[in-house]
């Protein structure tokens, strides 16, 4: 039985994530009107009516952030999900079949790992346009190599285990063995890595928006920061709060992911996530 104190990081992480999900779900109820409509006095510092202040065009920062939670979570789960699927499948195939397939795929993982991701994403989004789903897909498609590498290593050690061999002997096809016996047993470290990738996806969304590459019709945390950069001196609340929101969500991913990693690798102990 583990003591509750040892579980603090995990509980804190889950609580933060639950809060964020709740805000995302409740956003339409809390702020029914379009958050990008200006219906408040501009540049209001935080007060009772507008707890996080208003921006230069009279938009409620709290409303924009609440709606922005949806965008950030979409990036987190969408992009990390795409990366999880691509990485797991390609890594598993590479590790299981070995030989030429492995050589080619491993090379590919390496090369994709070297390419500076944000530069590529910027280029793609600038050329194709800043559509929300396109951006989610691109972020996901640039993240998979690390998942693939982890999955490959897992499959390499797991495929010689008894249960995998038993499945092969009993006549199961290679893909059945791989995806219903080997992969489910080796997915743990990939999931831990996925938590970190979710954090990275949220950061990337914010970074892209900050560079002016976010869909202008959608309120996102990075977007508010982008609008706020001209008002660092006159409306600091436009910058402080979205940043805190990002840090909170990232913190939850890191706390959960760190705990996962620690459980999977008992040698590594301590607080470092």
């Amino acid at each position: 039985m583990r003591s509750l104190a040892r579980e603090t990081p995990l509980i804190l992480g889950l609580a933060l994530l639950a809060f964020m999900v709740a805000v995302a779900l409740l956003a339409p109820a809390l702020y029914p009107s379009n958050p990008l409509f200006s219906n408040a006095p501009p540049m209001q510092p935080p007060d009772w009516a507008y707890p996080l202040g208003t921006d230069h065009t009279g938009r409620d920062v709290a409303a924009m952030l609440a709606w922005g939670t949806r965008v950030s979570l979409l990036f987190a789960f969408g992009a990390a999900g795409i990366s999880l699927v691509c990485g797991t499948v390609l890594g598993a195939i590479s590790g299981y079949f070995g030989g030429l397939v492995d050589d080619v795929l491993s090379r590919l993982f390496e090369m994709f790992n070297i390419v500076p991701r944000l530069f590529l994403i910027i280029l793609v989004v600038a050329v194709f346009g800043s559509y929300l789903w396109l951006t989610v897909a691109i972020v996901g498609l640039t993240m998979w190599p690390s998942n693939a590498r982890i999955m490959r290593a897992q499959v390499l050690t797991l495929k010689s285990r008894g249960y995998a061999q038993a499945a092969i002997v009993s006549g199961a096809g290679p893909f059945t063995v791989l995806f219903s016996h080997v992969v489910p047993n080796g997915i743990g470290p990939v999931m831990a890595n996925s938590m970190l990738q979710m954090a990275y996806a949220v950061l990337t969304e914010a970074g892209l928006a900050f560079l002016g590459l976010s869909d202008p019709n959608i309120a996102s945390w990075g977007q508010v920061l982008y609008w706020g950069q001209g008002f660092i001196a006159s409306a600091p609340w436009m910058i402080i709060f979205p940043g805190l929101a990002i840090a909170m969500l990232l913190m939850s991913f890191h706390l959960i992911g760190g705990t996962l990693q620690e459980r999977l690798d008992p040698r590594q102990q301590g607080a470092m996530a």
Partner: protein, 318 residues
């Protein structure tokens, strides 16, 4: 050794080719006219027509790819109409400012991060360790450009100690140029430093903890060295190899960080150039910048590999 280096240099080409292919793919998949994508949205009509001819944009795909590769190999990355200069020239000029920023911030980041991590490991599971651990996670969770804006808010707006943007002042007040640059660099360099500090701290902590279980550490303790000497001299030295590896591997993350930091502080480097190119839809600069950044990362990796062979005599290269 020489053969290893030669092989390593040969390995550079596939990655460069991958980046080039991505560019080529983008030009051809982009909605609208590929010639416009290659020229950028500021280009005059005559130039676009000329481009179409010189790159043979009406020719079959493979022929176009060939022409594109030949042009690239001659160092022709296109022409930026937003700046009215060749892209390569622009990139080389801006890369200097980025290098300055990156090298200085990384020097301090590796030094301090490693020290912090080793210190945390030495006080494993005690208050100092917890503080350093949670502090580094917290830093890790803040977007780098947000840290930058907070630094501006505090040190440029509130305290008015430091300039918030640019590399030099319009009026130098009789200061030598390098002092002027140094003053302008404090905030962006601090920002980039804070961004990478957690990576090195976390790494050093983990590797020192790993090494701390080994026999030679027990021996060093048994000889009677103080804990400080055991950790800082014996354990840390052996834990440094992963730091070198990570310094190489995180180069692409570092350039990403530099891109955002330069945007916040209007530091005239590659990143700021990319930002300006985004707003001007200056595609040749964006594509050239992507290629250039890829090349920088590869070269950096290569240098790290070479350093590694000197640091770890156990590594045998065949």
């Amino acid at each position: 050794m020489l053969r290893y280096l030669a092989r390593r240099i040969l390995q550079i080409f596939p990655v460069v080719l991958l980046a080039v292919m991505m560019n080529f793919l983008l030009i051809n998949l982009a909605p609208g006219d590929p010639a416009v994508v290659m020229a950028g949205e500021h280009a005059p009509v005559e130039y676009i027509a000329e481009l179409r001819k010189s790159y043979g944009l009406d020719a079959p795909v493979l022929e176009r790819l060939g022409t594109y590769l030949v042009k690239l190999m001659h160092g022709d990355l296109g022409y930026s109409f937003a700046y009215r200069r060749p892209v390569l020239e622009l990139l080389l000029e801006r890369a200097q400012a980025t290098m300055l920023l990156v090298l200085i911030s990384q020097f301090f980041s590796i030094l301090l991060g490693t020290w912090l991590g080793a210190y945390a490991a030495r006080h494993h599971n005690r208050i100092a360790d917890k503080l350093i651990s949670y502090g580094t996670i917290l830093l890790y969770c803040m977007p780098i450009f947000w840290i930058g804006m907070m630094l501006i808010m505090i040190f440029a707006v509130k305290l008015q100690w430091l300039p918030s943007s640019g590399m030099t002042s319009f009026m130098s007040f009789g200061r030598p140029r390098w002092i002027d640059i140094a003053i302008h660099m404090i905030l962006p360099a601090t920002c980039l430093f804070l961004h990478t500090l957690p990576i090195y701290a976390k790494l050093a902590r983990a590797s020192v903890l790993e090494v701390a279980r080994e026999d030679f550490i027990t021996t060093a303790r048994a000889i009677g060295f103080s804990e400080r000497v055991v950790y800082m001299r014996h354990a840390l030295r052996n834990a440094l190899l992963p730091t070198v590896t990570v310094a190489g591997l995180s180069l692409s993350a570092l350039l990403t960080g530099a891109l955002l930091v330069e945007t916040v502080f209007a530091w005239p480097g590659l990143g700021r150039l990319m930002f300006e190119a985004v707003s001007a839809r200056d595609y040749p600069v964006l594509m050239g910048g992507f290629l250039f950044a890829t090349l920088l990362v590869i070269i950096g990796n290569f240098i790290v590999d070479v350093i590694y062979t000197y640091l770890d005599p156990r590594v045998i290269y065949s």
